[in-house]
């Protein structure tokens, strides 16, 4: 009997490892090593910035530290208990900045990474588990799958209730985004999302860097078939594309686009449609590509409906900061006084 159980267990285990099982169970999680029981997980290490934002909103009390340096302006919107968390560095294969010894010293129950991992990343995570004995969890999925990510990770990390609360909010917001996208389906607005100091670097259509735009049914003018990362473009291409709006997260670029003569031929510049998205405490449109981008969905909807300075956006943003970031009251009142349009860095 015992032997049969063991065999069944092995078979089930083998089944779980096959890609097919992931389709059947619709799981976005993939893990290496033996996971502790959900209630036993008290210490979680975020492998990179997207995972850190995710864990900060889902299981703040279990987050061990920040993988990125947060400036005081950013920390002002973080809950006091997580403001003082140390900067611990990130785990990214050869690009890691945390040493394995420091990692062992921090003694996390589990290491969590967020984002679609390739074979290199997967094998690095496997190796990490072999070396340190710490279980690693990879959360896959797109921005549109945020509710599933939250629920599945919540079940795994012992935070079902919190996860459900956040997932419900995300579901409603994503449903609104879908309605919004349908409204513009006939003639989607053409957007260009400028990055870098010269504004000529951009997240290409289909990349994780322009998910907010595409979620709302907008057309990302920068397309390159077969390539969905970050690319460089030229002003000549932009003149040819003539986007309706220029978006950025860099105030320096707004200054450049509104003053440099070569940018003045763009109709978006002539009509004053150059907008800088806030990036506090984390980028609203991108950087890192995590749940923080749900704010970008709210912001971009307001922008395209021409109510960026309205009360509605203020209330929506305050609600998000309250629910997801649990921002201190002082910074929330500041947020309401300033309005999200002025929340630059």
């Amino acid at each position: 009997m015992k032997r049969r159980d063991l065999l069944q267990g092995l078979l089930a285990g083998a089944f779980l490892l096959t890609p097919l099982s992931r389709v059947v169970a619709k799981t976005l999680l993939e893990h290496n090593g033996a996971l502790p029981a959900p209630a036993a997980i008290q210490r979680v290490f975020a492998a990179g910035p997207p995972a850190a934002v995710f864990l900060y909103v889902l299981v703040p009390e279990k987050l061990l530290g920040w993988p990125m340096n947060l400036a005081p302006a950013h920390l002002a919107f973080i809950h006091p208990e997580q403001q003082n968390l140390p900067f611990v560095g990130r785990l990214a294969g050869r690009g890691s900045t945390v040493s394995l010894e420091r990692l062992l010293l921090l003694a996390p129950d589990v290491i969590v990474d967020l984002g679609n991992a390739g074979a290199t990343q997967r094998s690095a995570a496997q190796r990490l588990t072999q070396q340190t004995g710490i279980a690693t969890v990879q959360i896959e999925g797109l921005l549109a799958q945020t509710p599933q990510q939250l629920r599945q990770a919540g079940a795994l990390l012992g935070a079902r209730q919190r996860a459900e609360e956040l997932a419900l909010y995300s579901e409603q917001l994503l449903a609104r985004a879908l309605c919004f996208a349908n409204k513009y389906a006939q003639k989607p607005p053409k957007l260009y999302f400028a990055r870098s100091y010269d504004g000529l670097e951009t997240g290409l259509a289909g990349s994780i860097h322009s998910e907010v735009l595409e979620l709302l049914g907008c057309e990302n003018v920068a397309k390159q078939s077969g390539h969905t990362g970050i690319g460089q473009v030229s002003l000549e291409q932009l003149l040819n594309w003539q986007p309706d709006y220029l978006l950025t997260q860099d105030p320096e670029f707004v200054a450049l686009a509104t003053t440099a003569s070569q940018w003045q031929s763009l109709s978006a510049v002539q009509t004053g449609r150059v907008y800088c998205a806030p990036k506090l405490p984390f980028g609203w449109l991108d950087g890192p590509p995590g749940v923080n981008r749900l704010l970008g969905v709210l912001w971009l909807m307001a922008l395209l409906e021409g109510r960026l300075d309205g009360e509605q956006l203020k209330q929506e943003v305050a609600e998000f900061f309250n629910l997801f970031y649990r921002s201190p009251n002082r910074s929330l009142s500041l947020l309401l006084a300033l309005g999200p349009a002025q929340l630059l860095d």
Binding site: P49, G95, V233, L256, A260
Partner: protein, 342 residues
């Protein structure tokens, strides 16, 4: 190329070489004006050119594309290509070493560290360029000062070694900043800067960099005979009454000025300064007064053609640093193989 320079200085460049180079350059300019991502017909192009020259510029995108984007970019490609190739030719002669490129004394790494510092602290574009320029000058000044403190060895060798050492140091600084930079926003920008490109060139970039590049080029043209002597051994040159230290310093200042002002707004563009001088030498021999014009024209043509490819072959811009090697290396190997047979 450690061959001895031939002293028959009276032999000027063969006429057919001059004509060929000039025709190639003109053809490249015309081709580059004609093609681009913004579709323009020949007639439109002509109208826009004529209208602006006759003093009544047309309004609209076509005028911007030609006068604000394509022409500045073409001009920048010509100037940068010429500067890097000439600086490379001068350095290869001076250091008597065929593997030397214009960044041997650390100008590119210094510029890189400067630019990356500015990107790291989210500074505006103008400061990124200024930091790059100043960083390049500082690096070379530091290398020269370090080398002049060492008196026991061959001064040229000491210069190269000091350049390698400081280059490694500054390179470590670049790597450190790459590790510390935000991987989602700053790191791609840093990577693109290090790969080089002319996609953001504007007239204002040229307004400050073109005079600096020409300023660097002038002494090289004026002193082309004397630079030639630097490729002789120190004793021989000294016997001819040339003040080696002063000539060497002048050459370093000129080459650094050209390279630093080019790199400050293009990012690091490798390969041109290393290989174009070799191609020129294969064509006309090592004599600097003949090498200089050929390297200049070849460098300008080569970079212009490569940049035209960079902005037309794909839906997005390709980094110039990748294409210069991709296009240049096979051509160079072909030339080498051909030279070997004859």
């Amino acid at each position: 190329m450690p061959q001895r320079a031939s002293i028959d200085v009276n032999r000027s460049l063969p006429a057919y070489v001059k004509v060929m180079l000039a025709v190639a350059l003109l053809a490249a300019i015309v081709l580059s004006l004609l093609i681009g991502k913004f579709p323009l017909s020949l007639a439109e192009l002509w109208q826009v050119l004529v209208a602006r020259i006759s003093g009544e510029p047309l309004q609209g995108s076509a005028d911007t594309v030609i006068w604000q984007l394509r022409l500045p970019r073409i001009l920048a490609a010509l100037l940068v290509g010429a500067s890097l190739a000439v600086a490379g030719a001068a350095y290869q002669g001076m250091f008597r070493n065929p593997l030397v490129s214009p960044d041997i004394l650390g100008v590119s790494v210094g510029a890189g560290l400067g630019a990356i510092c500015a990107i790291f602290f989210n500074l505006p574009m103008l400061l990124v360029q200024l930091f790059a320029f100043v960083g390049g000058l500082f690096a070379v000044a530091a290398v020269y000062t370090l080398a002049s403190l060492v008196r026991r060895h061959d001064p040229v060798l000491v210069l190269v070694l000091a350049g390698i050492a400081l280059g490694a140091l500054l390179g470590a600084g670049i790597s450190l900043l790459k590790i510390l930079a935000d991987p989602y926003t700053q790191l791609p920008t840093i990577t693109f800067w290090l790969l080089g490109g002319l996609h953001s060139v504007s007239l204002s970039d040229l307004a400050y960099s073109a005079p600096l590049m020409l300023l660097g080029l002038t002494p090289l043209v004026l002193l082309r005979w004397r630079i030639n002597l630097l490729s002789l051994s120190d004793d021989e040159a000294a016997a001819l009454g040339v003040n080696l230290t002063r000539t060497r310093l002048l050459l370093i200042v000129a080459a650094t000025l050209m390279t630093a002002s080019a790199v400050s707004f293009t990012g690091i563009i490798g390969w041109v300064g290393l290989v174009i001088p070799h191609v020129a030498r294969l064509l006309v021999g090592p004599h600097f007064s003949r090498l200089l014009p050929v390297a200049l024209l070849l460098g300008a043509t080569f970079l212009l053609l490569t940049d035209t490819l960079a902005r037309t072959v794909a839906g997005i811009e390709l980094p110039l640093g990748i294409l210069t090697a991709l296009v240049g290396a096979p051509f160079f190997i072909y030339l080498l193989a051909r030279g070997g047979r004859t």
